[in-house]
């Protein structure tokens, strides 16, 4: 195979929404038979570019060349006919149907009368797996009985069955354990050896550096540059992505936990049959695990035991904060005891999108004496005080746009999250429950948020940090518990942090 042949080439492709450029004059090409990374922060235009390529949204100008020929890709089916296939972040698989039926959908071998030839499809799939060295045998299993990693493999096999030559994978590692990630990339390398072209959309620089041949960096809808992976490094890519020098690991001060940490007393204790966790003063305790292994339920029980304690733990648990049993406390009672919360889902649980920053900042603090005063009808909210507080926090956290009257739904994910952090810290809680603080947040904001969390820790506050980014936990935490199958499956002290070992426990080992 000619190594310089290109599979896909973008030539001046632009895509606008109103007068906002989601993609502006994209120029880059993807070599046939290579693994090509496409990186950039959230909102940099990676997804839009791939939607244009996959025919979901038409380009406004410019052209796309597939195998050297200019084509107008009308819709995903057309893209598939051209040999372009995509593994979406949310899998296109029906839970209650079998693997075989899911794969052959739309391309079923069948008789004249429409009878499915499942045996024939299966033979063909087994041949494909053999040719590409993929291991898979559970053709008759239902999708819901497979692990996430296996489901992803089904998606890849589906693309091969549809004879895709270019495979686009959108953030494929977000839901995988490190072991599954390794297996995925081993498989992708095999596909590459057989001449397939792979496009990897990612925001994780490490995996892009480790597994790709070349990488295109996007920022604010434009291509910043395309590099050969072996000739670049993390710092350079990060700088291209963000537009300035950034550090991905927290490099500020990290106060050594003093003797108080050795004290056996804990500030928060949650004991139940399956989950038992203790939080010591002044530490950041990480909660790791593949999504859907009980972390969500644990957080809900911690933050609102009056409802979720019964629902998820059947009322059989002990929950103590500062030595006080609070098994059926409401969120307000918790708040008054100094427990603060950053919920899992920013948009559905933390913010009112169609209200401004002041209203959002006030959520849960509407009875705080700092923001209320005696008025005509008793205790009333004092808007001026709230506004002053919001403006102070806009300064402190560098929230943009810096106007307290902006609807939070119009702000970027990073700025929304900064507002949520500001609100969390405003009543000066002593225990912080923080979930996915950097999910869908740009690198600049990540730094700010990590700094804020670390600062609280260094002030002696205690933090439980839930995250699906193992790197983030390793970077910040003093201790980590790993969830698997609704239980605490392992615990690691900071000096034992090793992604590989933790990954094994995440996978159930």
């Amino acid at each position: 195979m000619n190594q310089t042949e290109t599979a896909i080439e973008f030539k001046g492709v632009s895509k606008t929404f109103g007068n906002f450029y989601a993609n502006r004059k994209l120029d880059f090409s993807i070599r046939k038979g290579s693994i090509h990374g496409l990186i950039g922060e959230n909102g940099a235009g990676k997804s839009t570019a791939m939607k244009v390529l996959f025919g979901v949204q038409p380009a406004d100008e410019g052209e796309i060349l597939v195998n050297g020929k200019a084509v107008k890709i009308r819709n995903p089916v057309h893209a598939m006919k051209l040999g372009i296939g995509m593994v979406h972040q949310h899998f296109m698989l029906a839970d209650s149907e079998t693997v075989l039926d899911n794969i052959m959908l739309g391309h079923e071998p069948s008789t004249f009368f429409g009878l499915l030839k499942r045996g024939k499809a299966r033979e063909e799939l087994e041949k494909i797996c053999k040719n590409y060295g993929l291991k898979f045998t559970k053709w008759e299993s239902r999708i819901r009985d497979l692990s996430v990693g296996e489901q992803q493999r089904v998606e890849i096999i589906k693309l091969l069955y549809q004879k895709s030559e270019v495979l686009i994978l959108d953030e494929p590692t977000a839901v995988l354990t490190p072991q599954e990630v390794k297996e995925l990339f081993e498989n992708l390398r095999k596909l590459k050896q057989e001449g397939k072209t792979i496009v990897l959309i990612s925001h994780k620089l490490k995996e892009v550096l480790e597994f790709t041949d070349s990488v295109t960096v996007m920022r604010r809808g434009e291509v910043v540059g395309t590099k050969t992976t072996s000739e670049t490094n993390e710092d350079e890519l990060a700088e291209m992505m963000v537009g300035r020098k950034v550090s991905f690991t927290y490099q500020g001060p990290r106060r050594i936990l003093s003797s108080q940490a050795v004290q056996p007393k804990s500030v928060l204790k949650f004991i139940s049959e399956r989950v038992s966790v203790e939080l010591r003063p002044g530490e950041i305790l990480g909660v790791a695990g593949v999504q859907g292994n009980g972390q969500t339920e644990f957080l809900k029980a911690l933050s609102n035991p009056s409802v979720y304690g019964e629902k998820y733990f059947k009322g059989k648990y002990d929950y103590l904060v500062n030595g006080r049993e609070i098994g059926d406390a409401t969120p307000l009672q918790l708040r008054n005891m100094g427990v603060g919360l950053v919920p899992e889902d920013r948009l559905s649980e933390a913010l009112l999108k169609q209200q401004d920053m002041t209203e959002n900042f006030l959520l849960g603090q509407h009875e705080d004496p700092r923001y209320t005063g005696l008025g005509l009808f008793g205790r009333m909210i004092n808007r001026n005080k709230v506004k002053a507080a919001v403006e102070k926090n806009i300064q402190a956290f560098d929230i943009r746009p810096p106007f307290s009257t902006v609807w939070t739904g119009r702000m970027s994910g990073g700025n929304q999250q900064k507002l949520v952090m500001a609100r969390l810290l405003d009543p000066q809680p002593s225990i912080l429950l923080v979930a996915h603080p950097t999910r869908g947040v740009d690198v600049g904001a990540i730094e700010k948020i990590h700094e804020a969390i670390m600062m609280e820790r260094n002030l002696g506050k205690s933090v439980i940090l839930f995250s699906s980014e193992l790197d983030e936990l390793i970077d910040l935490c003093d201790r980590m518990v790993v969830f698997f199958d609704g239980r605490v499956h392992g615990e690691f002290a900071r000096k034992e942090f090793d992604p590989w070992a933790i990954g094994k426990v995440m996978g159930g080992a």
Binding site: M92, L93, A94, D95, E97, M104, L105, E108, G114, L116
Partner: protein, 286 residues
């Protein structure tokens, strides 16, 4: 036993089974179908009309199916093309259907909502049972082993996957709706040309809803759905047999109490036995 119990159960179950199969196909494609009742009603009316006019019950039955299908196409237009709420539109279809037989019976027969009796020669003896059996077999086969069934199921389970495989979602849903209209129409046709000898006012009498309950009880799968219909058929026959029977004391149980039975069983069974919901994932979203 055969003549006194099994055959009557099959007779009263046949319309339920036909309507329920229609409902199953429609809901499997992702569209809620509460209009079965209305399709059955127009089916039973037009079935009687054509059986009368042609003296051929087969033509009557066929036209019953066509009438149901025509009405279902109106439903399809409203929910697929104009994306109206499926529960509300289904209710509207049922109400609309209630007005159709009186309207035409006034014009054609100068009566307020019934047809003259169908002569014995133009009535069915046993054929609808065989037709039902054939359609059950065809449905079960198509559901599990045909390309059509696979694609239609995905329209209800994961429409995005179907679309990305290059198959039109709305075409599958149209098929589901039209099949439900045709089968429920047939079901209505058997009421007037097989189970009795004319169309009478409000002939479907809630059977469309019982059929829908059977679909839910059968977890949207063909054979369990048919079994659920047979269960309702058994209670229906039991209800008829128990009328006027002295169960305890000196007086028979009032007939109204006995007539509640099929409906009561429907409620109890639905409330108690459904267990884990297995409804199509995308049911009702369009």
């Amino acid at each position: 036993m055969l003549d006194s119990f099994i055959l009557p159960v099959c007779r009263v179950s046949a319309p339920l089974i036909l309507a329920a199969l229609g409902g199953m196909w429609c809901e499997r494609s992702g569209v809620i179908q509460i209009g079965l009742e209305g399709f059955m009603l127009v089916g039973s009316f037009f079935g009687a009309v054509y059986a009368l006019n042609t003296s051929n019950p087969y033509i009557g039955l066929l036209m019953a199916g066509v009438a149901g299908m025509v009405l279902s196409s109106l439903y399809g237009m409203v929910v697929l093309r104009y994306r109206a709420n499926q529960i509300v539109s289904g209710t509207a279809i049922n109400l609309f259907a209630m007005g159709i037989p009186p309207f035409f019976s006034k014009i054609w027969f100068d009566s307020t909502g019934s047809t003259p009796p169908i002569p014995t020669a133009a009535q069915f003896q046993i054929a609808p049972l065989w037709i039902t059996l054939a359609l059950v077999a065809l449905s079960a086969w198509a559901y599990h082993s045909s390309r059509f069934g696979l694609r239609l199921r995905f329209a209800g389970e994961h429409p995005d996957a179907l679309q990305s495989a290059g198959v039109s979602i709305s075409w599958k849903r149209w098929q589901g709706i039209l099949i439900s209209g045709f089968l429920a129409g047939l079901a209505g046709g058997t009421l007037s040309t097989y189970l009795s000898s004319s169309f009478i006012r409000n002939m479907s009498a809630g059977r469309g809803f019982i059929a829908l309950a059977a679909v839910i009880l059968g977890k949207w799968k063909p054979i369990p759905t048919v079994l659920a219909c047979l269960l309702f058929g058994v209670t229906e026959i039991a209800q008829i047999r128990l009328q006027g029977v002295v169960l305890w004391g000196a007086e028979p149980v009032p007939v109204q109490w006995i007539q509640i039975l099929p409906y009561l069983i429907t409620i109890i069974v639905l409330a108690g036995a459904v267990g884990r919901s297995e409804s199509p994932k995308a049911l009702g979203n369009s």
